[in-house]
């Protein structure tokens, strides 16, 4: 009543004593009592009563008990009141005002004042809108009241048949944008979800009939939010109830229980049954039809984004619907009509220009499905089409979101087509923005010949001098560049196939795309390809060198040697797979794959050569790894009696080692990198077991020479003493030729050389005394391992020498921390010798040593 009184005073305040207003006022007073005359709804009244009567057995009782009136009356009254109030509310906008009248007459006589009049009119309209905005609650309250009526009478049916049509009719009829926008929103907010679900078609049906100024997206969007939240809640409660095994969900209050869970379950069923998606879709389509191609692209994108969001939330499994959403966008942005049935204009369509807002909206649209779908976006038609409308940087952002989503989802990529698509989508991460138009996405053919790769391995790659600083200064944000490349690298580990031939093709495809990234990227993105190929090689090796079956089948002919040249060819070895599959039927145990270990080594070598172009030290270390893996292949072949192949792989290992050495000589120039490289060489050579003696000798001699040539004396000393191990391999479980590879005299030479360098170093700085202690440790190591030329006299002599050095240092200088460390180290070594003298097993051996 207060509200009505307020309204009345407002109305009279405008000074327009209209009888309509009076009528509203009177009805307001009579509102609580039974009112027979029901405005224009004479025939509706009976409908309402009938519907109310039909809605339940209890309806009559309650209606009877209330002598003051029935619910039907209330509905009737509220609807009438709503109608009338709305009319008045709309009319305020068009009410003539004093200034308006003056302005109007003035303009008739004085044309030069027209500008001022327009200004005045505009101000007037604004003021009216402000005033009306303040009054809107009054009109909306009627709808609120309607929604608060006893739900035993106001059922979903009655809402759909009587209440909603009446309200909508008024909304359309009033032709006032402000009223239309507000009231549509009002309906969405005040009535229950179930009602909306049942009447969605009707509600959306009026959207195209609204005035053009009304923002349909807001209305449709709110309705979608409402319904998807309803669906979320329902599903949440449903799963809670399932978890709690029928118990009342704690956060839903006490009265939830089984019944509520059941009704929620019904709600979930209901919403999935109603084809809300296509109702929204049709509604939006009608908007497109009405507005034609005048709609700004960002509006189309926003509408489709809303629809896509709704579909993802409510119908997560319907991929087709998401495709539809994207398809409409793609068509519109491509210059076509957003209207699905709209005729495609003849000839080539010019793609629409996107402003920065549209670009952001499109990036958002394409990122949204990634969270929930991850890899499955590849199933969506138009997804990659739409991506091409984005500028390169935005595509890169989407690619980052995509990679993260795929990595988080933990799904593997198991299909070649899928991998190609994925790699095309993330092209902006894989390569720089192409400068020319012909440089389109994908990087289709990797055209560098094998010879070039081999040349690259030798450090004479084409275009190297000018490529050296590629992109080094061009990248404005090197931090995120690395992060991005790390993401791409991770992707490689998701490529999986149980069929080793398919897995090989996957890696070939991946490499073909990734090598387009140039030197600055390959260290990040191709190294994972190398290691994935190693793992694949392990699988192939197991199959290829399986213990032979009792019946001696003819050894499988590895047809790979002929294929080697084609290893990098774009097409998969389809024919080979088919023919070898046939062969497989004949003998299931025989190795029947097109890709064997040898072929993989070619692939590995090529890939390492590519990486070496950008990062020689990394390339060098990869070569060492490949050699080491080839050596293990030789072991595996030997183990099953295929000694011929065994020596072949041993030769491959040697070959790769030799290439690594060349790379070291030509490309690894930093002195620290050289020192690290030699340490890795020594470790790798000692880990290999199948080298022929001559090969081994050549390699270890070379290594020792590299060590002796290092720039810094201290580095020389440290690495030369490590090289001593090369001539006395000790840890070897697989190789029978250990002793054949040993050359004790060379061990001694290395250690003596190290001593000489250490002596020179100590002249320069006493802190280098630690080098002597390190060498002492090495002498003890070889002595303990029975290296024949290392005798107790060497050890006793070195102990005496170090003791003297220590004494001299003590007298000459104050202890630096390095010297202190060396002193401690020396004491511990002496302690170690004493310990060995006491231990039963070693007492005899260590007895002659003097400490």
């Amino acid at each position: 009543d207060e509200v009505r009184a307020l309204m009345k005073s407002k109305m009279t305040g405008e000074g327009d004593g209209d009888e309509e207003e009076k009528k509203v006022g009177e009805e307001g007073k009579e509102g609580e009592t039974k009112n027979a005359s029901c405005g224009d709804g004479g025939d509706r009244e009976t409908d309402t009563s009938a519907a109310a009567g039909a809605s339940g057995a209890t309806a009559e009782d309650t209606a009877q008990s209330s002598s003051s009136g029935s619910v039907a009356d209330s509905i009737c009254f509220l609807l009438t009141n709503f109608t009338e109030m709305n009319k008045l509310w709309v009319r305020i906008q068009h009410m003539p005002s004093a200034s308006g009248v003056i302005g109007g007459t003035a303009s008739n006589h004085h044309h030069h004042r027209r500008g001022n009049d327009r200004q005045a009119q505009k101000e007037m309209r604004k003021r009216r809108e402000r005033e009306r905005n303040e009054l809107r609650l009054l009109v909306g309250t009627n709808l609120v009241r309607l929604s608060q009526l006893d739900d035993r009478y106001v059922t979903s049916e009655m809402y759909g048949e009587i209440i909603l049509p009446h309200i909508l009719e008024q909304i359309v009829a009033c032709r006032d944008p402000l009223a239309q926008a507000y009231l549509m929103d009002c309906i969405i907010q005040v009535f229950p979800d179930e009602f909306h679900l049942a009447t969605l078609e009707t509600f959306l049906g009026v959207c195209p009939k609204l005035r053009e100024k009304v923002n349909i997206r807001t209305i449709v969007g709110s309705m979608m939010d409402r319904l998807s939240n309803y669906f979320d809640d329902a599903r949440l409660v449903q799963s809670d109830a399932a978890d709690a095994n029928g118990e009342t969900p704690g956060d839903e209050g006490g009265d939830g229980g089984d019944g509520s869970a059941a009704s929620r379950q019904a709600a979930v069923a209901a919403i999935t049954e109603v084809d809300a998606f296509h109702m929204f879709d049709r509604c939006i389509q009608r908007v497109y039809t009405a507005k034609g191609s005048s709609m700004p692209p960002k509006e189309v994108i926003r509408l489709q984004t809303a629809l896509l969001n709704f579909s993802l939330k409510v119908y997560p499994d319907k991929m087709g619907q998401i495709s539809e959403c994207l398809g409409v966008c793609a068509k519109y942005l491509g210059g076509g009509s957003a209207d699905k049935d709209g005729a495609v204009a003849g000839g080539a369509l010019a793609p629409r220009e996107l402003d920065s807002v549209a670009v952001d909206e499109l990036e958002k649209l394409l990122s949204i499905p990634l969270d929930s779908l991850a890899l499955r976006v590849l199933e969506l038609d138009h997804y990659s089409d739409l991506l091409t409308f984005l500028p390169w940087d935005n595509r890169r952002q989407v690619a980052v979101v995509m990679l993260n989503a795929v990595l988080n989802s933990g799904t593997n990529l198991t299909d070649i087509g899928q991998i190609k698509e994925m790699l095309s989508i993330i092209t902006p991460l894989i390569q720089d923005e192409p400068s020319g138009a012909d440089n389109a996405a994908g990087g289709a053919d990797g055209g560098v010949s094998r010879t070039t790769n081999l040349m690259g391995a030798l450090g004479v790659g084409p275009g190297q001098p000018d490529g050296m600083f590629d992109g080094a200064d061009a990248d404005p944000n090197p931090l995120s560049f690395v992060d991005e490349q790390v993401l791409v690298g991770k992707l490689v580990h998701l490529l999986r196939s149980d069929d080793t031939d398919v897995a090989y093709e996957m890696l070939t495809v991946a490499r073909r795309y990734l090598r387009e990234g140039g030197k600055k990227r390959m260290a990040y993105t191709l190294t994972p390809v190398v290691f994935a190929a190693f793992e694949l090689l392990d699988a192939v090796k197991k199959a290829e060198f399986m213990p032979a079956p009792p019946t001696d089948a003819p050894p499988p002919v590895p047809g790979a040697s002929a294929d080697d040249d084609k290893a990098d060819a774009a097409s998969p070895p389809d024919g080979d797979v088919a023919s070898s599959a046939e062969a497989g039927n004949a003998d299931p145990l025989a190795f029947n794959k097109a890709v064997n270990c040898r072929k993989l080594f070619v692939f590995l070598q090529e890939t390492a050569a590519m990486i070496a172009q950008g990062d020689p030290e990394l390339g060098f270390k990869l070569y060492l790894q490949i050699a080491s893996v080839a050596d293990r292949c030789a072991i595996a072949a030997n183990a099953v009696g295929k000694t011929e192949e065994g020596s072949e792989y041993s030769a491959i290992a040697y070959e790769i080692m030799a290439q690594a050495f060349l790379l070291y000589e030509d490309e690894v120039s930093d002195s620290k990198a050289q020192q690290r490289s030699i340490v890795s060489m020594v470790g790798t050579l000692l880990a290999c077991r199948t080298f022929e003696k001559d090969d081994y000798d050549a390699l270890v001699t070379k290594t020792a020479q590299y060590a002796a040539k290092l720039l810094k004396k201290a580095d020389q000393c440290k690495t030369v003493m490590l090289c001593a191990h090369l001539f006395y391999p000790t840890v070897r479980d697989g190789g029978a030729n250990d002793s054949a590879l040993r050359n004790p005299q060379r061990v001694l030479e290395c250690l003596q050389r190290a001593l000489k360098i250490a002596d020179a170093c100590c002249m320069a700085s006493p802190a280098n005394v630690q080098l002597f202690v390190d060498i002492l440790d090495q002498y003890i190591y070889f002595y303990e391992n029975d290296c024949p030329v290392i005798t107790d006299k060497f050890i006793s002599g070195l102990v005496a020498l170090i003791s003297e050095h220590m004494a001299n240092i003590g007298a000459a200088t104050t202890d630096s921390s390095a010297v202190a460390e060396a002193r401690g180290h020396f004491e511990r070594t002496i302690e170690y010798i004493k310990q060995k003298k006491n231990d039963d097993g070693t007492a005899e051996l260590f007895a002659p040593i003097l400490v």
């Binding site: 580990h493 080491s628 470790g683 460390e821």
Partner: protein, 193 residues
């Protein structure tokens, strides 16, 4: 936590993204922040992201440089070796590629004497080990991602947790075998001087 004394997480050779895409999910769930006092890493993190991940786990993170440590603008140069004191123990850390021959316990013993520690932690072989040598201990946590190694076959993802109480250590080795976590336990005390 008091029951366990100080907890030291020992892991290494992640090689992400070169050789693996992530730490196995089951391990990741076990590595929760604020449970451990120290993280010891044998190196080869692969990228800065992984280093940051470790620093989120514990206040003290000790990383040594691996043989293929990440480089570039984000790189923090890690030292070749480190020695830390936990309880009454001196724990030395080295990646292990410098220990020639690789994985050789006599060679490891040389490094242990050089660093003057009771326990030497090293990686590189991707094969976890807890080995007593001359009354001292050599611990290798293996590779937490089960990264490929050219010298070890059938690699099992693993890491080590040390519970240090004064002169006593309980050493747990966690392995991921066929998707299941397997834990083995070793107890030892500091060698009397």
């Amino acid at each position: 936590m008091a029951n366990f004394g100080e907890l030291v997480l020992v892991l290494g050779d992640l090689h992400i993204p070169h050789r693996a895409s992530a730490i196995p999910e089951k391990f990741k769930r076990m590595l929760v922040p604020n449970k451990m006092q120290h993280v010891v890493c044998t190196g080869n993190l692969g990228s800065k992201e992984n280093y940051d991940g470790l620093r989120d786990l514990a206040p003290n993170v000790h990383v040594v440089s691996g043989d293929v440590e990440y480089t570039g603008p984000q790189a923090t140069p890690f030292p070749e070796t480190r020695v830390i004191s936990v309880g009454e123990f001196r724990i030395g850390v080295i990646h292990g590629h410098q220990v020639i021959p690789w994985g050789d316990h006599m060679a490891l013993s040389m490094w242990r004497r050089k660093l003057g520690c009771d326990i030497l932690i090293s990686g590189h072989t991707h094969k976890n080990e807890v080995v007593e040598q001359e009354g001292y201990y050599h611990i290798n946590p293996g590779s937490i991602t089960g990264a490929y190694s050219s010298t070890t076959s059938d690699i099992i993802p693993s890491f080590v947790l040390l519970a240090v109480q004064g002169a006593k250590i309980v050493c747990y080795v966690y392995e991921l075998i066929d998707g299941e976590i397997d834990v083995s336990k070793t107890e030892f005390t500091k060698k009397a001087a």
